[in-house]
Each structure stands twice: as C-alpha cells, then as structure tokens.
C-alpha cells in the first residue's frame, strides 16, 4: 500500500509539469495583455510598453517560463500583477469560502443522492424511481446559474428567508456563515446530486441481481440490511469513482456559483484573474486545482480497499 501511495505521489510530478507547461503556453498564446489592462483605457502605447517592461513581459517566452518555474521550485508563486500582494497571500485569503462551499456541497449532495439512488434502484419502475430519474435529467440539463437565480428569487427576494449574496467567515459568526452557505451549496449540489444518484441507482441495480443478494434475502435478512450492508457496499466502488471525478464539476461549478452569490472564493479569483490576464495568479490557481484533483482521486483510490477487500495495491 505504502509503495502504491509513494508511486502515485511521484506520478503527480509529471502531471503537474504538463499542466504547468500547458497553462503557461495557453496564457501566453491567448490574446490579451495585462499591461494594457493595468494601464487603463486612456493610456498611450508608450505607457503600456513601460508597464510591460516593468512586469518582464517583454522577455522571451522561454526566459519568462524559466523564471516562473525557478520561483515555483523555491516556493515563490510570484506576485499578482494587480493586487500588490503575493499570489500565496491572495489564495490564503480566498480559500476559505471555496473550501466551505465544496465541503457543504459534498456533504449535502452525498447525503441526499446516495439514499435516493438506492431507493430508486430498490423500487425500480415506481413513481419514486421516475421522479429521481426525472430530477437527474433536469439537474444535468439546467445550468447552475439558472438554478442559483431561481433559488435567490424564491428564498431571498420573495420569502426573505435568506440573504441574496455575501460571505461571513466561519470564525466571525457561525450562523451568518451557515445562512449564506445554504443557497450556494444547494445550487452547486443539484448537478452533483443528479450525477451521483444516477450512478448509485445503476450500480445498486446491478448488484441487486447478484446471487449473493438472493442468498442474503433467503437467509431472512431485512431489506435495510440487504440494501445497506450487501448491496450498497458492493456498489460503492463506481459511486466513489464518480464522486472523485465530480470534484472537477465542483471546481467548475464553484466558479459560476461564487460569481452568482458574491462569494469571494478561489473560483471568482480565477475568473477575475483570467479576465484581467493576471498570469501569476491564473497559473498558480490552476496548478493548485490540479494538485487538489489528483490528491482527492488518490484518496478515493485508497478508499476502494475499505469497501472492497478484494482490491489490494
């Protein structure tokens, strides 16, 4: 097992190297000039050229890349072109809302989707099954921002139960934090619930037709025990895989959800950085998201051994 984990961690290095090169080149090849953005609309070409020189953007591409990689290897992620702050500081300032949103969404989505997926499988063809499947189609099809606006209209503007936007840090006021997390988490959960409930239903359905389930029933075990201990546990591997893959949906969804609900998180930082061509910030945030994605999927792989003892690394 330790050998497997060590190999997987080592394997992260080439992945990050590819991501680093790809992101760097994509940004440099994409049209747009941070110096022109910084200088503002009334600036002359000379002023823009001066700023470009100060930022080192007039250096050859390979020199810029070498400087950036050299700094990264020394733990220096650079300074934002705009904020006069290091990218590490910016990320530290923005990570809490995104982390909170991701955890709330994950907890809510998994605790809703797995039970309804199992129930839908257990009552295949019933009204409940059709409702769950219908919901999953809608959940996949409706864009997150539409769901967000609908929830804002109903729960914030019409009913006045929850605020439209904003974020309060958990350490400042827990209740305010919670009430500001409800709508964004619900919004982001919809697609995630649709995905997991569908996969859960399919996996459990497949398992329910296995001989050992029939044997368990023949032994006189209750439906709850058959479903939870035998069916769900054996169906867990594909469900966990989808949850791991769904982290990418979560990261992508956070970008939109944070914008709709005015959450000052990493998703919004990414959008702002892309729109203003803040290269050091975009590069670091994308590298960080890549690390998160790879590490979470590593943890998911390790967790397979808990649910399926036949899997050994």
């Amino acid at each position: 097992m330790l050998d497997f984990i060590a190999r997987r961690i080592v394997a992260i290095i080439p992945v990050l190297a590819v991501v680093a090169v790809f992101v760097f080149l994509m940004l440099r090849l994409t049209p747009g000039d941070p110096a022109a953005v910084i200088a503002g609309d009334n600036a002359t070409s000379d002023q823009i050229a001066d700023i470009r020189t100060k930022l080192g953007l007039d250096e050859p591409l390979w020199t810029q890349f070498a400087i950036w990689i050299g700094n990264i290897l020394q733990g220096n992620f650079g300074e934002s072109y705009f904020f006069k702050k290091t990218v590490a500081e910016l990320i530290a300032q923005r990570i809490e809302p995104t982390l909170a949103l991701a955890i709330c969404t994950l907890v809510f989505a998994v605790s809703v989707s797995v039970p309804i997926g199992v129930l839908a499988a257990y009552r295949q063809g019933s009204m409940l099954d059709r409702v769950v499947m219908g919901f999953s189609v809608v959940g996949f099809s409706v864009p997150g921002f539409v769901i967000g606006y609908c929830l804002i209209y109903i729960f914030a503007i019409e009913l006045g139960w929850l605020p439209v936007q904003g974020y309060v840090r958990i350490g400042v006021d827990f209740w305010k934090f919670l009430e500001r997390m409800i709508l964004p988490s619900l919004t982001l959960s919809v697609g995630f619930i649709a995905l997991i409930s569908r996969i859960t239903r399919a996996s459990v359905l497949e398992v329910l037709n296995e001989d050992y389930i029939r044997t368990a029933r023949a032994k006189g075990l209750s439906n709850r025990v058959v479903l939870m201990r035998h069916a769900l546990r054996n169906a867990a591997v594909p469900i966990l895989t989808v949850i791991g893959l769904g982290i990418a949906i979560l990261i992508g969804g956070a970008v939109v959800t944070e914008s709709v609900f005015g959450l000052p998180g990493l998703g919004r930082l990414t959008v702002e950085a892309v729109l203003s061509r803040d290269f050091p910030t975009i590069q670091t945030v994308i590298l960080m998201f890549s690390v998160v994605y790879v590490v979470i999927n590593l943890l998911i792989d390790i967790s397979y051994t808990i649910f399926d003892p036949r899997i050994r690394y």
């Binding site: 503002g40 002359t44 606006y149 409800i182 914008s259």
Partner: protein
C-alpha cells in the same frame, strides 16, 4: 417526509431569526457596489475609472470642477497669476493634514504634480510650458512658466483620469511607472482607507476622516465642502449584475453605481429604490480609426464613415430607452462650455448615398475593414454590428472580428497590418469629463507615434491643440475649438456616435448624491 420538511423549515427559520438578532446596527455604514472591484490602489499609475473613484475617497485635489464646469480652489486657499501670466502662486489652506497626522506641505504638492504629470497627457502638455516648480514656504509654491498657458487651472482641476491627487512627498517620489505601496495609501481626503480590512475580490473599506476640514462653501460638483455624513463606506465586490439588483431589492446593499440598462425597468418599479442620473454629461460612444492602416490613412475615406453614420441607431441598439441617451453631434459633449455643432451639419446623418460617392472619389479599393467587436461588455456589445451595417450600406466591405474586451485592449496597441493581427477600427466609450476640450480628449491627440492607439498624424490638429492650450481667453478658446472642429470633420481621428447616461440605483433612504462626473460619497446621507 412531512416531519422532515417541517424540521428543515424550522432550521432555516431559526437560522434567519438568529441572523436577524445578531445583525449589528449599521445605520451609518454605506454599502455600495461599484462598477468594478478595486485591485490597484494607485490612481496615478493607472487611468482606470475605479482607481480614480478610489482616489477621490482618499486623496484631495488642489482644485476641483463644480457642476457648471468652473474650476474652484479645493486644497488651495488662494492663488495668483502675474500680469505677464508667467508666474502662478498657490497657497494651501490652513489645517490640511495627512491621515497619519503630518501637515500637508507645498513640497508634497510639488512632488505630486511632478508624478502626476509624468503619467497624464494633460499634465505632460502643461509641463511642456512649465519652466520650474518652486517651493516658497511650507504652504506656498510657485509655477514658473516658459510661456503663458491657458489650461493651468483646468489641468490641476482635471476631474477624471488621471486626476492630480496630492500625495505625501515620500509617496509622490515613487517611480511613476511603479505602483505606490499598500502602506502609502495615505491621503488628506475626506475618507481614510482601511488597509487592514481591504480584501481584494470581497470589499474595500473607508472610514470618515474625523480630522478633515471641509471648505466652508456648500458641496457643488467635485468642488466645495466635502462634508462626510456617514461613518463608513464599504465598496463590495459583486460581479453579477442580477445578484447586485437582488441584493439592493433585499436591502443588503444601499447603492449600485451602474446597474445595467436592461435591469432599470425592474428597479424603476420598486418603490424602495430610486434611480439617479448623477452625471448629467454622461458618456460618449466613440468609433476610433487606425489612421495608419490603409484605407483609413486616407482622410476622405474616414470622412465617408462620418457621413454614413447615424447616432440614434447606435444608441437604440445599446441603451434602448431614450430617457438614457441623447443624440449629440458636438464632440466636446452637449451641455458643456465647448459644445458646438460647427462643421457638423453634413455628418452623422446616415447619408449612405453621399458616403458611397465619397468612397468612389477617394478610390476605395474594397479593402476589408477589420472592425474589432467587443462581446463581453454589455454597454459596448451592440455597437460594432450597427457600425458594420451602416458602413456596408455605404459600400464598405467590413470584416467584424469578435473578441472579449481585454483581447481588444491588447490588440488595439498593435501596429501590425489589420489582416495580420492589427486592426482598422473599434468602438469604445468615454466618460464625458475626460473629453471636455481638445487637449484633454485623448483621441484628438494627433502627434503620430506619441498619440493614442490609432496614431493619427496631423500637424494642423496639433497646431489647433497647441493654440487652444496657450490661449487664456475663453472666448478665443471657443473660436479655436470651432475652427478645429470644422477641420476635424474632414480629417477625423475618431467619430462620436452618441451620448448616454448610466444612472445609479439607491435605496430610498439614501440621499445627497452630488451631481458630478464621478460618484463621490461625501454629502451622502443614510436615514
């Protein structure tokens, strides 16, 4: 299932009640969503409008422009100009203090003027006529001129980017090409910047400067007494316009600087919200030529575009509601002292037949016009398709290239051939306060490579601009503008395609917003 629903509703209700109980009294905190988040803190380093607005919170100016476009003293107590108009003497008001408690001195002001003028085109023009800046004593300094210059007060009282904000000498000695440091965001203005509460992407906070001594005159435009009537102003970063409107309707914020024209009818229906057009001169849409690229290197072909265009089509396509736009041919903006229609009778009438005839006479060879089309800024998106349609009606071949605004910003500074990464034309918008005269209006600068992107090269226009700058008699200045305008119509550097207004939206309990080209927060009250 029912009990689960009840529990969930009870939980949500409990959370809401808890929040209501815990809500602090915030009667004197003004929560505002501006048009953009503040990322850069130095209003001299960039010309972006959000930094200009931030500048007005923290720093003060020597002079300021009132509602009638008259320049009035602000930090200056008195000023004097010698009979030969070669020596200007400025004396500062008593009691001016930086936020760290140190007195504002003449040395600070001289250093600030130098840094500002290194970045601002109007400042550069003025400094071309300045022989020296001389500190007389702690409160007095002199500006010695090489020659009489007619725009000294207009330059020092320039209302929009770059505004000559006064900074402490140590800050003003920062290389003009570098941003000032976070700890140097110290001004003498009516608000104090709270560095410890600044969270880029979330909010920027200003508190009332209790030691600020406002002028005794009532506030008028950007001039007069800057009396702060709230304790704290928070600018919240909220990029989504729909969310901004929801937050305003819900009372979570007090004001939106620019709510977007398509949402104005929704806001107008809400009795708790008022719309206010605080900037009576508004903004001007502009079509910019690349005068170095064929066929726009030919003045007659540029003039043909002027003849082909009709302003109202542009305004209807972008703004829609006639309440928020104005057909205005005057390039120096309707409602200002230099408003004139001299020379404009035959242009901007949508005369495609005349434009076609001009193109034939000019020998237009059918070269496709590369028209850059910005797609992500709502107030600009529909302009390029209108321009394309009107130009094609006149016989131009137009290749409209769609891109986001930042790509356009990067491409417009490129002098490459239009079919190889360059461009022929694009449309943008100016705040009217930036284009009040031919020296201030950047697109009139026709100094070839030293001009703004588009690089017009026209000695006659430059001669008019110099004459205007050096003329001290306002009547003669107006005459120069009329002469310039008549010439410019035939040799256009750009085309003004209409004036438009962006009202701010505020809760009904907010009052006191001043009529000015910049949204300022002194004089604003919250009941």
């Amino acid at each position: 299932m029912l009990s689960f629903r009840k529990s969930a509703l009870a939980l949500v209700a409990a959370a809401s009640v808890g929040a209501m109980v815990a809500a602090p009294a915030s009667a004197q905190t003004l929560k505002v969503v501006m048009h953009s988040d503040v990322k850069i803190l130095d209003p001299i380093w960039t010309t972006a409008y959000i930094q200009r607005n931030h500048g007005y919170m923290v720093w003060d100016t020597l002079f300021a422009m009132d509602e009638k476009f008259d320049v009035k003293p602000q930090m200056v107590e008195k000023y004097d100009v010698s009979a030969d108009k070669l020596t200007w003497t400025f004396t500062l008001r008593d009691g001016l203090e930086w936020h760290d408690g140190k007195p504002v001195t003449a040395e600070d002001c001289v250093a600030s003027i130098k840094r500002w003028s290194a970045r601002d085109s109007m400042g550069q023009k003025m400094m071309g006529s300045v022989a020296s800046l001389e500190v007389v004593d702690a409160k007095t300094f002199k500006m010695n001129m090489k020659e009489p210059y007619g725009l000294v007060l207009q330059s020092l009282g320039k209302p929009s980017s770059n505004v000559p904000f006064m900074m402490p000498k140590k800050t003003a000695e920062t290389d003009p090409m570098q941003q000032i440091k976070l700890e140097d965001v110290i001004g003498s203005g009516p608000f104090v910047f709270k560095a410890d509460e600044w969270k880029p992407g979330e909010k920027i906070v200003y508190v009332k400067n209790a030691k600020y001594k406002p002028r005794s005159e009532p506030a008028n435009g950007l001039a007069g007494g800057k009396v702060v009537k709230v304790d704290r102003v928070e600018w919240l970063a909220m990029p989504d316009v729909q969310t901004q409107v929801g937050a305003l309707q819900n009372g979570e914020i007090d004001m939106i600087e620019s709510p977007g024209h398509d949402l104005l009818p929704l806001l107008a229906k809400d009795k708790n919200i008022k719309l206010l057009s605080f900037n009576p001169t508004g903004n001007q849409y502009t079509f910019r030529f690349n005068s170095t690229a064929k066929p726009f290197d030919n003045a007659k072909i540029r003039h043909a575009v002027f003849v082909a265009f009709a302003q109202e089509d542009f305004l209807k396509a972008t703004i829609g509601d006639a309440q928020w736009y104005k057909v205005c041919k005057a390039p120096f903006v309707c409602g200002t002292p230099l408003e004139t229609n001299a020379g404009m009778a035959d242009v901007l009438n949508g005369n495609a037949a005349k434009a076609k005839q001009l193109l034939t006479e000019a020998g237009y060879d059918g070269t496709p016009i590369v028209l850059m089309h910005s797609t992500d800024l709502q107030v600009l998106t529909n302009l390029a398709p209108v321009a394309k349609a009107q130009m094609e009606r006149a016989g131009f071949k137009v290749e409209m290239v769609s891109m986001d605004w930042q790509t356009l910003v990067a491409r417009r500074v490129k002098k490459d051939p239009p079919n190889a990464g360059g461009w022929h034309a694009f449309l943008t918008s100016w705040v009217a306060a930036d284009i009040l005269n031919p020296v201030m209006a950047g697109f009139f600068n026709s100094a070839c490579d030293k001009a703004m992107f588009g690089w017009p090269c026209d000695a006659t226009i430059e001669k008019f601009r110099d004459q205007f700058a050096k003329e001290t008699d306002p009547a003669k200045q107006k005459q120069i503008v009329e002469d310039l305008q008549k010439y410019w119509v035939d040799h256009p550097t750009h085309i003004n395609v209409g004036q438009w207004y962006a009202p701010l939206a505020r809760r009904a309990n907010i009052d006191g917003n001043l009529t000015a080209p910049v949204p300022v927060f002194w004089n604003v009250t919250k009941k």
